[in-house]
């Protein structure tokens, strides 16, 4: 049986540093995905995920066991990400007046992966993160509003617009490919 987050945190606070490794194992992929959604760059995402765990460890004593640990961890990640984006914007203003975001290059060859991540990364950051929190992590609107420090109605609206854009981006990506396939196979049909 796996120990709960609360048990592991108690162990960490009592000096059992290794218990935190289990927490990292448990949340690493999810926090990394959240970081990637926010930063759109794999190196920066890894860096942000790492910083999130380090800050969480430093602040473990302030964590209230009555609350969900997952919410707490994602709040830290969201805030650190926000700070990073701010400082990245400042750096760009100084070094590169015309920034071009470079969406993460997927490592896998599968088309669905390419489509999905490209479609997700082409959504504005303000809509992308709430969409991720709702549909990947399954947070409620109230939790999203608490994590991102926005109102509940704004959270709902952002998720709604995020969905619209995701579907639009995916449809746009599928359209040219189907047309190309159609041209080569004499079955040129619009979808």
């Amino acid at each position: 049986m796996h120990p709960t987050d609360t048990v592991l945190i108690e162990k960490c606070v009592n000096g059992e540093r290794d218990a935190f490794a289990l927490i990292v194992e448990r949340y690493q992929h999810r926090i990394y995905f959240m970081s990637l959604t926010r930063m759109r760059d794999r190196y920066e995402a890894e860096d942000l995920a790492q910083e999130t765990f380090i800050q969480a460890y430093r602040k473990l004593e302030t964590y209230d066991p009555q609350r969900s640990f997952k919410n707490w961890l994602f709040t830290i990640c969201a805030n650190l990400g926000k700070n990073r984006l701010r400082s990245r914007a400042r750096r760009r203003e100084v070094h590169n007046p015309n920034p071009q975001n470079s969406p993460a290059q997927p490592r896998g060859p599968e088309h669905c992966r390419i489509d999905l991540m490209r479609a997700l990364h082409n959504i504005p950051e303000k809509l992308r993160v709430p969409l991720f929190l709702k549909h990947v992590e399954g947070f409620s609107y109230k939790e999203i509003s608490s994590i991102l420090k926005i109102g509940t109605s704004a959270a709902k609206m952002r998720v709604k617009r995020g969905r619209d854009q995701l579907v639009e981006n995916l449809s746009e990506q599928k359209q040219p490919r189907l047309v190309n396939q159609g041209n080569s196979g004499n079955e040129a049909k619009r979808i």
Binding site: Q28, F33, A49, I54, L60, Q66, Y141
Partner: protein
């Protein structure tokens, strides 16, 4: 017409994607395009099933970078704050300035009683509004005190405030005249004039996170004092003596001069006669003198004034609330909560609001008896939750069972709040009320 239809379809689509329990036939009869729904569902399914895996060795790199102990030592904190080579003067000067400001702050605000303030963001979708204000019990229902910023690119107006823990009622005032509640508040409560106010319940342990991560200074507007600047009361020549006598009576009862001046000037401007005002206020002054909580009754009067209630409506509403408070005190004494109601006034408020909302007194007595031996905070949280769920339309029998469950399980404030949210969500989805309770404790 067509546009409205498309907006409704859009709303229904996203409602379904949020997991609302609507029969497929019903959605089709609303004209929702089934292909569109499938397209959205498939795209979101792709996203939900997608996995991103962290590069190999990530966990060991994190573990290697961790500090020895979870807590920052003072040495670490200072070290991380101090620049390594140049610019040493920056932290030195900042430190000195900060010290100066702290000293000045301590001197200026030494008398400020409450220190715990909880940050809240409130927003409203009103793309065509010219001005949106926040009005509520935290500002004595005074307009012009708190203006929302907006609209942003998505049509939202927002305000970030910090409030002490407690129970608040509020609404938004659009363009200085139209008053609308916040649909996304914790609950809606009839205001007595045929409209609704939003409820905001802030618990002491609402915000356990380290605020360093959350906010930057100046991002939040603070409402600590709850007392807006008063206005001098200049009674008109007509009935001057009667108004002055009422003012003196209020001051003699111990009500703050500014509060009573504020109230009387508003009652006079609402065309209430001094006799009517005296009839209404005298019982309140007596209660105030006896040390009973009267703040919420005064607040209701302010709300009536803001909403331009006729004098007779205002009087009826204030008396109804006064009656609810009197009955609540009597009920708490009868059920053995005499000590708690003095040490924890929120219990009186919660009981009074539940009675005012029209809940059956016998029902509340059962809950109070079931709460024997629990802390005042716990029982207050359960009664507050009961009021919200009562307005949400939960069947009385199920409501009683859930409130008793919460007490039996010894749930604390935040845990009760989670239960309330879950039940509200299930009611919205159309789940059968009995099933809601059965699934609640799995």
């Amino acid at each position: 017409m067509k546009r409205k239809e498309s907006e409704n379809q859009d709303k229904l689509l996203h409602h379904l994607l949020d997991g609302a329990n609507i029969e497929p036939e019903a959605s089709l009869s609303e004209g929702l395009d089934a292909d569109r729904l499938t397209l959205y569902r498939e795209s979101l399914k792709d996203l939900e099933n997608h996995e991103e895996r962290v590069p190999d060795g990530f966990a060991s790199r994190v573990m290697a970078a961790l500090p020895d102990k979870p807590r920052h030592t003072w040495g670490d904190k200072l070290k991380s704050f101090w620049p390594e080579r140049r610019f040493w003067a920056v932290p030195a000067i900042s430190g000195a300035l900060a010290m100066l400001m702290i000293m000045a702050g301590i001197t200026l605000f030494r008398s400020t009683p409450n220190t715990l303030l909880i940050p809240v963001v409130l927003d409203l979708y009103a793309p065509s509004a010219k001005q949106v204000e926040l009005v509520g019990t935290f500002s004595n229902w005074m307009p012009k005190a708190f203006r929302l910023k907006g609209p942003d690119a998505t049509g939202y107006w927002a305000i970030a405030v910090k409030l002490p823990p407690g129970r608040y009622e509020y609404a938004f005032m659009i363009n200085g005249s139209q008053i609308v509640p916040d649909d996304d508040g914790e609950g809606l409560r009839p205001d007595g004039f045929g409209h609704e106010n939003s409820l905001l319940l802030l618990k002491k342990d609402e915000w356990p996170f380290d605020q360093r991560y959350q906010f930057t200074a100046g991002e939040y507007l603070t409402i600590p004092g709850n007392e807006p600047k008063g206005q001098m009361f200049y009674p008109s020549n007509r009935n001057r003596e009667l108004w002055q006598a009422l003012l003196d009576r209020g001051i003699a009862a111990g009500v703050q001069k500014q509060t009573i001046e504020n109230l009387l000037s508003h009652l006079a401007s609402a065309n209430m006669s001094p006799d009517e005002a005296r009839n209404m206020l005298e019982p309140l002054f007596q209660d105030f003198q006896a040390g009973h909580p009267t703040r919420d009754i005064f607040l209701k009067i302010h709300e009536c004034i803001l909403k331009r209630a006729l004098p007779e409506t205002l009087k009826a509403i204030a008396e109804r609330r006064h009656e609810a408070f009197k009955n609540a005190r009597a009920m708490l004494v009868q059920t053995g909560y005499s000590t708690s109601m003095n040490t924890y006034p929120a219990l009186v408020n919660a009981t009074a609001f539940a009675l005012e909302s029209g809940q059956d007194p016998a029902f509340l007595r059962v809950i109070l008896s079931a709460g024997k031996g629990k802390s005042s905070e716990q029982i207050t949280a359960v009664i507050e939750a009961g009021e919200i769920l009562y307005y949400a339309g939960l069947e009385p029998e199920i409501l009683k069972a859930i409130m008793e469950d919460c007490l039996r399980r010894g749930l604390k404030g935040l845990q009760v709040e989670r239960v309330t949210e879950q039940v509200q969500e299930s009611i919205r989805k159309g789940t059968d009320h009995r099933t809601i309770r059965n699934k609640l404790w799995i």
